[in-house]
Amino acid sequence: MINRTTAPSITDAVSFNLSLKPCDRYTLDNQTPVYAIHAGAQDVVMIEWVFYAGNWYESKNIVAGTTNFLLKNGTAQRNAYSINEYFEFYGAYLNRSCYNETATITLHCLSKHLHELLPVVAEILTESIFPEAELAICKQNQKQRLEVNLKKCDFVANRLIDEYVFGFHHPYGKYTSTIDYDALQREEMAAFYEQFYKNGSCMVFAAGKLPADLGTQLNKVFGKLPLNSKPLPAIEYPLAPATEKKYRIINDAEGVQGAIRMAQSFFNRHHPDFPKVQVLNNIFGGFFGSRLMSNIREDKGYTYGIHSYLQNHIHHSAWMISTEAGRDVCEATITEVYKEMERLRNEPVDKEELDLVRNYMIGSLLGDLDGPFQIISRWKTYVLNGLDEQYFYNSIETIRTVSSEELQALAQTHLQPEHFYELVVV
C-alpha cells in the first residue's frame, strides 16, 4: 500500500527559472510601433490596434465608448451588415473595447485569412461614418441595457465605489445615465474619431502563429495612414474622493443579497510598494486560499466568493474588496474583513503561509505565460504602463524574497480601516 498521508515531494515553484518570451518590435513607416509574439501550434492569430482613445480623452460623457462601439457600424463603402458579414464569412472576430486611457480593435482569425481581413480593418480606421440610424439604435438598446443593469446590486455598487474613490469627474469614477445617451450627437463621435482614431496615437500588438511577412503586410496596409503624427493632448484630472466614507443603499427592497465593496485609493505600478503589496493582497484576498476566502466563505459560508485586488489602472489604482453576501450577514462580513486587516497589521505572516503564497504566485505566473495571447497581453500591460521586462523580473524577485516583516509593515501602512470606503448595496 502506498502512503497517502504524506504529500509527494515537490519542487518549490520559487526555484523555477521563469522567463518572459522576448517580443519582436518594429515600427511601420508612419512610426506605428508593432509588438509581436510568434508562438503556438494552432494556425490562429490575434492582432490588436490600441489607440489612446479612452474616456480620458472625451469632453462629454460616453463619447469615447460610443465612438468605439460604432466603429464597425458603417464606412463610406460598407454598411454595418456588410462589415459583419465580411469578417464572419472568414470565421473571424472583430471586437472593440473602450477603457479609460485606451480603446482597442481586436481581430482574431485563422492566419491564412489575414490578407483578406487587414484592408477592411484599415477601412474601419480611416472611413468610418457613424450613421445617424446606427447611433439611434445604439442609444435605444444601450439605454434599455442600462435599465436592466441598474436593477443589479453588484452593477450599482461597482459604479458608486469608483465614484467615491476617484470622484465623478475623474475618468475612473464617472458612469453613464440615460440622459448622457439622449444628449449624444453624431458629430461628437465623428470629431472624436477624426482626432483620436484616424489621426490618433496607435500601437499594434500581434500574437499567434504569425505569417513570416506580417511586418510587410502591416506596413503595406497601415504604414501610410496618418497615425502617430500629432501629439496627444496632455490632460490631467484631479482626484476628488468623497468625504463621507460609509454608505448603505437599498436599490431593491426585495433583494436577498447585498453587494459589498470596500476600497481605498492606491498608487500605480511605479510605486516601489506595488509589487510587495501584490503579495500582501494575495494573502489577504487574492486567491482561493486567501484569508478572506478561508474565513468568510470556507468557514462562515456568508458568500459564494470574496476577493480583493488592485485595480488595473495606469495613472492611479485602488485597493478593492468585493463580494456579494446574504443580506442578513453583510454587516458581519464587513466586520470580518476588518478583522483580517487587523491580523495582518498585528501578526507577521508565518513562514508556511508565506511560502505557500510565493509558490502559488510563481506557479500561476508560469501558467499565465502559457500561450501567445497570454504572453502578448503581459507585454501590452508593460508597454501601456511605461514599464519593461525588468518589471517582470523584479516582481518575481519580490515574490521570492519579500519578508514577513516587510508585509506586516505594509499592512500597517496600507490596511487601515479609516482609509477605506465602505458600501453595501442591497
Binding site: R4, Y81, Q140, Q257
Partner: protein, 411 residues
C-alpha cells in the same frame, strides 16, 4: 489533429494522455459521469453541491487546495446537467501532487459535517447571487419546467429550489459518492509537459488500488415527443418584456445535433446573423437577441431569447421570430451562408484547442461520449451538412407543437 494515448486501469478507470512539450505546465482533468440529470427529483442540486464538498477534505488529506497551491497549482471544477468535471493546472515538475490529491478524493471523502454545513450555505448564496437576486434570473427554471415533463433536464444544475440544498443530509452525500465517484465511472485526462510512460506509472501508483465500484447504469425517464405547443406568461419586477422560445432538438450524438448547431449560428451567431439583422437592426423589435443551445448530451433545446424594445408587443415579436424561421423552412439558404457557418466552426475549433486545459477538457468529454477520437473528426461532421440538410432539419424541429414559449412581462 490532437494526438493522444489511451489505456484503462484494472479498476476500469479510463486514462488519456496528450503530450505537449511546448509548455512547462501540465493539466490533470478528472471527469465523473454524473450530473444534475442523475438526481432524485426530490433532492435536486445535489450533484453540484457535491462538487463543492469534493474540496472539503478527503480520507487522508484534510485540505485539497493548500497542497496544490503549495505546488504552484490552480484548480477548479464545474457541474452541468450531464457531468461533473474537475481540473487542475500545475507546473509539470509537481504533477504527482495532483495525482495524490485527485486519487485520494476518488478513494473516499472525509465526509466532514462542518464542510457540509458550510457548503450548503455557500451554495445557497450562489443560488441567490445567480438566480434569485438578478432580474430574469428565474427564466431557465421556468423554461425547463415548461419544456420537460419527464426528463430530469426539467431542473437546473443549481437545483429546483433552495430547500433541496438546505435539507441535504450527510447520508445522502455518502450514498451519492459511492454510487457515482468510482473509477469505473470516471475519466482521467492528463495533458501538457508529460509522457505517457510517466502517466502510466503515476496512474497505476495512485489510482490503481481504488476499488472499481459498480458501473452506473443510467436509465433516465425519456421525454415523450411533444404534441401540443406550450406557453407560459409570467409577470415580474423587471424593466423590459422578455421573450424566450425553445424547440426540442436532437441528442449530442445525433446527426441532427450538428444541423441544429449550425442553425443557431445562421439565426443568431454574430452581427450578420438573420435574427439580429432583421429584428434588432431593421425592424427594431428586440434590443438584444440570442439563439443558442446548451450542447446537452440528451435531447436539448434550441432557444431564441431576447428583450423587447419598449412599446413592442410580445405577440408581435413572437410572430416576427416565427416569420424568420419560416423563411429557413421555405427557402434554401445560399451556399455562401452555409460556408460562412462552416468557416466559423473551423475557426472556433482552432481557437478552442489552444490551451492544454481546453484540450484536456475536450478529450474527457468525447471519451465520455464514447470515443475520444471524435475530437479529431468533429469538424468533418459539420463539413458534410448541406443546405438541404439545414432546410430539412428546420422543417423537422421548428413545428409549433414542438415549441415552448415564455412571455416574461415587465410589471
Amino acid at each position: 489533429m490532437i494526438i493522444y494515448d489511451r489505456f484503462v486501469l484494472d479498476n476500469g478507470l479510463r486514462v488519456l494522455v496528450h503530450e505537449d512539450h511546448s509548455t512547462p505546465m501540465a493539466v490533470v482533468n478528472v471527469l465523473y459521469d454524473v450530473g444534475a440529470r442523475d438526481e432524485n427529483p426530490e433532492k435536486t442540486g445535489f450533484a453540484h453541491l457535491f462538487e463543492h464538498l469534493m474540496f472539503g477534505g478527503s480520507i487522508n488529506i484534510p485540505d485539497y487546495d493548500e497542497p496544490l497551491q503549495r505546488a504552484g497549482g490552480e484548480n477548479n471544477a464545474y457541474t452541468t446537467n450531464d457531468l461533473t468535471n474537475y481540473y487542475c493546472q500545475v507546473p509539470a515538475e509537481n504533477i504527482e501532487t495532483a495525482f495524490w490529491l485527485e486519487s485520494d478524493r476518488m478513494l473516499s471523502l472525509a465526509f466532514s459535517k462542518k464542510s457540509l454545513d458550510v457548503q450548503r450555505k455557500v451554495v445557497c448564496e450562489e443560488f441567490k447571487e445567480h438566480y434569485l437576486n438578478k432580474p430574469y434570473g428565474d427564466v431557465w427554471h421556468k423554461m425547463r419546467e415548461l419544456a420537460y415533463t419527464k426528463h430530469p433536464y426539467r431542473w437546473m444544475t443549481i437545483g429546483k429550489e433552495l430547500s433541496h440544498v438546505e435539507n441535504a443530509h450527510i447520508d445522502d452525500v455518502k450514498q451519492f459518492f459511492f454510487k457515482h465517484y468510482r473509477p469505473v465511472n470516471a475519466v482521467l485526462v492528463v495533458t501538457g509537459h508529460v509522457t505517457t510512460e510517466q502517466v502510466k506509472q503515476l496512474a497505476d501508483k495512485w489510482f490503481g488500488d481504488i476499488p472499481m465500484g459498480e458501473k452506473y447504469q443510467r436509465s433516465l425517464p425519456q421525454e415523450p415527443a411533444q404534441t401540443l405547443a406550450r406557453k407560459l406568461e409570467v409577470h415580474a419586477q423587471v424593466p423590459l418584456d422578455a421573450f424566450v422560445k425553445t424547440w426540442h432538438m436532437d441528442t449530442r450524438l445525433d446527426k441532427g445535433y450538428y444541423a441544429a448547431d449550425m442553425i443557431t449560428e445562421i439565426l443568431g451567431g454574430g452581427g450578420s446573423s438573420r435574427l439580429y439583422q432583421s429584428l434588432v437592426k431593421e425592424r427594431q423589435l428586440f434590443s438584444n437577441l440570442d439563439c443558442y443551445h446548451f450542447g446537452s448530451i440528451d435531447a436539448g433545446l434550441l432557444t431564441v431569447e431576447g428583450k423587447l424594445v419598449k412599446g413592442v408587443k410580445l405577440e408581435e415579436a413572437a410572430a416576427a421570430v416565427d416569420a424568420e424561421i419560416g423563411k429557413l423552412q421555405s427557402t434554401l439558404i445560399s451556399e455562401q451562408e452555409l460556408q460562412k457557418v462552416k468557416n466559423k466552426t473551423e475557426s472556433v475549433i482552432a481557437f478552442e484547442d489552444m490551451s492544454i486545459m481546453s484540450r484536456a477538457n475536450s478529450l474527457a468529454l468525447y471519451e465520455l461520449l464514447g470515443d475520444a477520437d471524435m475530437m479529431n473528426t468533429e469538424l468533418q461532421k459539420y463539413q458534410v451538412i448541406t443546405v438541404e440538410d439545414i432546410q430539412a432539419y428546420c422543417k423537422k424541429i421548428f413545428r409549433e407543437e414542438n415549441s415552448n414559449t415564455l412571455f416574461y412581462h415587465a410589471n
